[in-house]
C-alpha cells in the first residue's frame, strides 16, 4: 500500500474509534432517556436521532454543511470567535461518522434497556438507590450485551461512512481521506489494483468487528 493508503487506513481507524467513543457518550444516555423517561419532545428527539438511518447520507451531509460550514448557523459564529472552521478537518469526518452511526447505537441500546425487567430497578429504588445510581449499577449492566452490540454496529458504520463525510470533510489525501474515500478515488483514477487491496483491508476489518461484537454480545451476564 502507498503512504496515502496507509494514512487512509490509520485515519479510518482513528475516526471510527473517536466516533464510537462520542456515540457512547451521547448515545447511551440518550437511549436510556428514550427507554425510561417520558418527557416533552421525546418523539422529536427519537425522530431526529433516527433520521440519519433513513435519509440519504448526502442529505445528512448537506444539513451538516448548513449547520457547521463556515457560513453555517453554528459554523459562522464559531469562525467569528475562533477563526477556525471544522470543514475539511478530520474532526469533520468524526462528526459525520458520529451522526451517521448514532441511530444504530441508540436503537440497539434502547431496545436492550427496555427489555430490562423494571422490577429490578424498583427493587433498587426501595433500597434507597437514586435513579442515577440505579441506571449505572442495575439497568445499564443488565443491558450490557445490547449496548456492546450497538457500539460495535456504530463502529462498523463509522468505518464505512462515505456520503456525509465527503460532503463535510472533503477528500484530502493524508488529512480527511478515509478508507472508503480512498477506494472511491482509486476506482475513479483507474487504480484497480490499489482499489482491490483497499477493499480487502476494509472487508477484513469489518469481519473482525462483526465477529468480535458477536463474541462480546453473546457473553453471559
Amino acid at each position: 500500500m502507498s503512504p496515502d493508503h496507509l494514512s487512509a487506513l490509520w485515519l479510518s481507524i482513528k475516526v471510527s474509534v473517536a466516533a464510537t467513543a462520542l456515540n457512547g457518550a451521547i448515545g447511551i444516555p440518550l437511549a436510556y432517556l428514550l427507554a425510561r423517561r417520558r418527557f416533552r419532545g421525546r418523539a422529536v428527539v427519537d425522530l431526529l436521532v433516527t433520521l440519519p438511518l433513513v435519509l440519504p447520507p448526502t442529505v445528512t451531509g448537506y444539513y451538516l454543511i448548513v449547520l457547521l460550514g463556515r457560513r453555517g448557523y453554528l459554523g459562522a459564529p464559531l469562525y467569528e470567535l475562533t477563526g477556525w472552521t471544522v470543514a475539511f478537518t478530520w474532526y469533520a469526518a468524526v462528526i459525520a461518522a458520529t451522526v451517521m452511526a448514532l441511530p444504530l447505537l441508540v436503537r440497539t441500546a434502547r431496545a436492550a434497556i427496555e427489555s430490562v425487567d423494571p422490577n429490578f430497578e424498583r427493587a433498587a429504588f426501595t433500597l434507597g438507590r437514586s435513579e442515577w445510581r440505579t441506571a449505572l449499577e442495575v439497568t445499564l449492566p443488565l443491558a450490557r450485551n445490547g449496548i456492546i452490540a450497538g457500539l460495535a454496529l456504530a463502529f462498523a458504520r463509522a468505518l464505512g461512512e462515505f456520503g456525509a463525510t465527503i460532503m463535510l470533510a472533503g477528500n484530502i489525501p493524508g488529512k480527511t481521506q478515509t478508507l472508503p474515500l480512498s477506494i472511491y478515488t482509486a476506482v475513479q483514477t483507474g487504480e484497480a489494483g490499489q482499489a482491490m487491496s483497499l477493499v480487502g483491508v476494509l472487508t477484513l476489518l469489518s469481519c473482525v468487528v462483526v465477529v468480535a461484537s458477536g463474541r462480546l454480545g453473546a457473553r453471559p451476564l
Binding site: 454543511i65 460550514g69 463556515r70 457560513r71 472552521t85 470543514a87 475539511f88 472533503g170 477528500n171 484530502i172 489525501p173 478515488t185 476506482v187 475513479q188 483514477t189 483507474g190
Partner: protein
C-alpha cells in the same frame, strides 16, 4: 392492483415514442452552460431528439467511457484524456475537433478581505486552504499544478490544497467561504458571480493552453447525430454562444 400496474406500464411506454433519438453527452462540467445552450438550438431544429448530459471532471468521464458507459459524445477540458481514449481506440479519431479555449484564474470569496493579487500571495498565512481540482482526474487541477510547478510554488502550497472532484466543486468551496482561494476557469466565475471574485490570473505561459476537444465515442449507436453535434459546436452560432459565455476560439493548428 394489476390494473394500476398495467396503466403505469402503458404510461411509461407512451412517454418514450419509438421514433425518439437520444444522444448522451459526457461533458466536462466547465462546459455545462455553453453545451446546454448549444444543445437547445440543436434540439430546436430536430424534433424527437433528446439530449442527456452526463457532467463531471474529464478524467472521471474518461474512466466511465473506458468502463463501457453508454455515451455517444465526449467533450473534454483537456487533450490528455482524449489522447488516452484515442490511443485505446475508444473514440472515432476522424471526428475529433478542438472547439474552444479557456483561461485559468484564481478566485476568492466575494467578501474576502485578504489581498491576493499574485501567486506568491497564496503563501500568506491568512490563506489557510486553497481549493483545486484533484490533479489525478480534473484538468483544471492538472493545469494549475503545471502552472504552480513552473512558478516553483507547488511543493510550498501543497499542504494548503483541498482537492475537489471537479472544477465546480472547487468553485463551490470558495463560494461557501470554506477556503480562502481556488483555481478555476475564467468562465466559471460568472456562474457564481455574487459569491466569488477573481483575485488574479496565472501567467498564461506557465501552463499549456486549456483547450476543449470533442469526439464521437466509438461504441456509439448514434454516430451521425453525434457528428452533427460536433458540427454545431464549431458552427458560427455555436462559436457565438461560446463567446457570449466567455470562452475563447480554438487556437488554429490544434486538432
Amino acid at each position: 392492483m394489476y390494473r394500476v400496474l398495467t396503466a403505469a406500464i402503458l404510461l411509461l411506454a407512451a412517454a418514450s415514442p419509438a421514433s425518439a433519438q437520444e444522444l448522451t453527452l459526457s461533458v466536462a462540467i466547465s462546459m455545462k452552460e455553453a453545451v446546454e445552450e448549444i444543445g437547445r438550438g440543436f434540439t430546436a431544429g430536430r424534433p424527437g431528439v433528446t439530449l442527456r448530459y452526463n457532467l463531471g471532471s474529464s478524467g472521471e468521464l474518461q474512466k466511465q467511457i473506458e468502463a463501457g458507459a453508454p455515451v455517444d459524445l465526449f467533450i473534454s477540458a483537456a487533450q490528455r484524456q482524449m489522447d488516452e481514449l484515442e490511443k485505446a481506440g475508444l473514440i472515432v479519431s476522424a471526428s475529433r475537433r478542438v472547439f474552444a479555449r479557456n483561461v485559468l484564474t484564481v478566485i476568492k470569496p466575494a467578501d474576502s478581505r485578504v489581498d491576493i493579487s499574485k501567486a506568491t500571495d497564496l503563501l500568506d498565512g491568512r490563506v489557510k486552504r486553497i481549493a483545486i481540482g484533484n490533479p489525478k482526474t480534473v484538468p483544471v487541477g492538472q493545469y494549475s499544478e503545471e502552472s504552480l510547478r513552473t512558478l516553483g510554488l507547488w511543493e510550498r502550497l501543497r499542504p494548503k490544497l483541498v482537492f475537489a472532484e471537479n472544477v465546480r466543486q472547487a468553485l463551490d468551496y470558495v463560494a461557501r467561504g470554506e477556503v480562502e482561494a481556488g483555481f478555476v476557469y475564467t468562465t466559471d466565475v460568472v456562474t457564481r458571480a455574487a459569491a466569488v471574485k477573481e483575485a488574479f490570473r496565472l501567467p498564461e505561459d506557465t501552463y499549456r493552453p486549456v483547450v476543449y476537444p470533442a469526439a464521437v465515442v466509438a461504441a456509439s449507436k448514434q454516430q451521425a447525430l453525434a457528428v452533427a453535434f460536433i458540427a454545431a459546436l464549431v458552427s458560427r452560432d455555436g462559436q457565438a454562444a461560446l463567446g457570449r459565455l466567455g470562452f475563447l476560439p480554438a487556437p488554429p493548428s490544434v486538432r
